[in-house]
Each structure stands twice: as structure tokens, then as C-alpha cells.
Symmetry: C2
Subunit: 120 residues, 2 copies
């Protein structure tokens, strides 16, 4: 297998005290909850343990002025989960931040990436 | 001690295969080597073990088309170290990339940061 080509990795984390209120992993989790309608299925799709998934949702719901994720209890399939309007807004704003960073990085990173050795 | 206010943390990493060819930690190490004239003193000033410091310098010197750090051997003080012209150029380009990211993030991050709860 060939090594991946030189590339830029960007990470934006919104910190609330020592907690990460939003970052790449939590954004992916929110997107997966919206896509699957289930906290457990979303975590599994990202390779996270159930414990870790619940902890991330707990942090998300604690750091913002309201919950980002709602979960209904009961029903034949254990209830459904989804994003609150605030969750949708925060995820959209975070994706916009990521897009702005990618755009801003393109120029300054190009010269650095061009200079990097191809991985051996 | 009060918790720090909500804030944005940005990280840009230039990847060379699985190695980090440049990132916040390596940039700080390069700057410290330039400031102290010594690889060992630079690592100490950043709280890094000597082993870790040497590994980082080795990665830096392997990922780019030439060494970023030069080290002279011998002499009463164990020789001196500094940045090569390539090292100075890569560090400057990386700091310019970081500055472009901070500028681009300011607008999109402001609304998110304003919404975050104050840490308890």
C-alpha cells in the first residue's frame, strides 16, 4: 500500500473550560446521530464504545445553553434520537468554520506541502 | 482559580505519511532552538524529555528536502544548534499559515463562542 501523499490536517476545537464543547469528533457524532436516528448506532458507525459515545453526548448537552441531542425513551426500537434545533445550528456553524479554515489554509499551505518529501 | 473563558483552539498539522512533518509542537521547538541555540535547552524550555526532543528533531530533519536544524558537535558547551535557512523558511511559512487560520476563524467562531456556556 502506498503511503498517503503529503497533506494538511486542520482541527478546530471550541473549549468550554477544560471540556471540548465541539470539535471534529463531536461534529461527526452529531452528524451520525442525525443520519441514524440513534445515539448507539451513531457511535457504532464511528467505532466508538457506547460509554464514550454517551460521555460525548453528555458533554455536548452540558456545554451549550440547551441540549444539542434529544433522545426519546421507550418504544419497540428503544426510542429515537436526533438533533435539537440548537444542535442543528451549532453543527452547521461548526461546519462553516471548518470550511472557512480549509479555504484560508489553501494558499499558505500549498508551498509547504509542495516542499515536503514524498513519504518513503 | 477561575476556569478559562470559552475559546477556540486551532491546530494545523502537515502530514508526511504517518509522520507529523510540522505542527504546533514542532514549530514551538524550532522557535526555541533558534532562541536558545541548543536542542537540549530548547526541549527543556518546553518540558519535553531529551528523547522526545531528539525524536522530534529527527522527524523534522527527515520529512523535508534538507535538515531544518543544524547541530555543531563539541566545544566547551557541547556545540551549538540553530535553524538552517530551510528551517527558518518552513517555520516562517508555518507561522503565516497559523495567522491566516486565526484570521479566517474569527468571524465564524464568534457566534459559536458567544453561545457557549461559561464554564462552571
Amino acid at each position: 500500500m502506498d503511503a498517503p501523499p503529503p497533506r494538511l490536517k486542520l482541527k478546530a476545537q471550541l473549549m468550554c473550560g477544560e471540556a471540548i464543547a465541539m470539535g471534529p469528533g463531536k461534529a461527526d457524532l452529531l452528524a451520525a446521530i442525525a443520519a441514524t436516528g440513534s445515539i448507539a448506532a451513531a457511535g457504532r458507525s464511528l467505532g466508538l464504545s457506547y460509554r464514550r459515545t454517551r460521555d460525548m453526548v453528555e458533554t455536548l448537552n452540558a456545554c451549550w445553553p440547551g441540549p444539542l441531542v434529544h433522545a426519546a425513551r421507550g418504544g419497540a426500537h428503544g426510542g429515537g434520537a436526533g438533533l435539537t434545533p440548537l444542535g442543528e445550528a451549532v453543527l452547521a456553524d461548526y461546519r462553516a468554520l471548518e470550511a472557512a479554515l480549509e479555504t484560508a489554509a489553501a494558499g499558505p499551505a500549498a508551498a509547504l506541502l509542495a516542499r515536503l518529501n514524498a513519504p518513503g
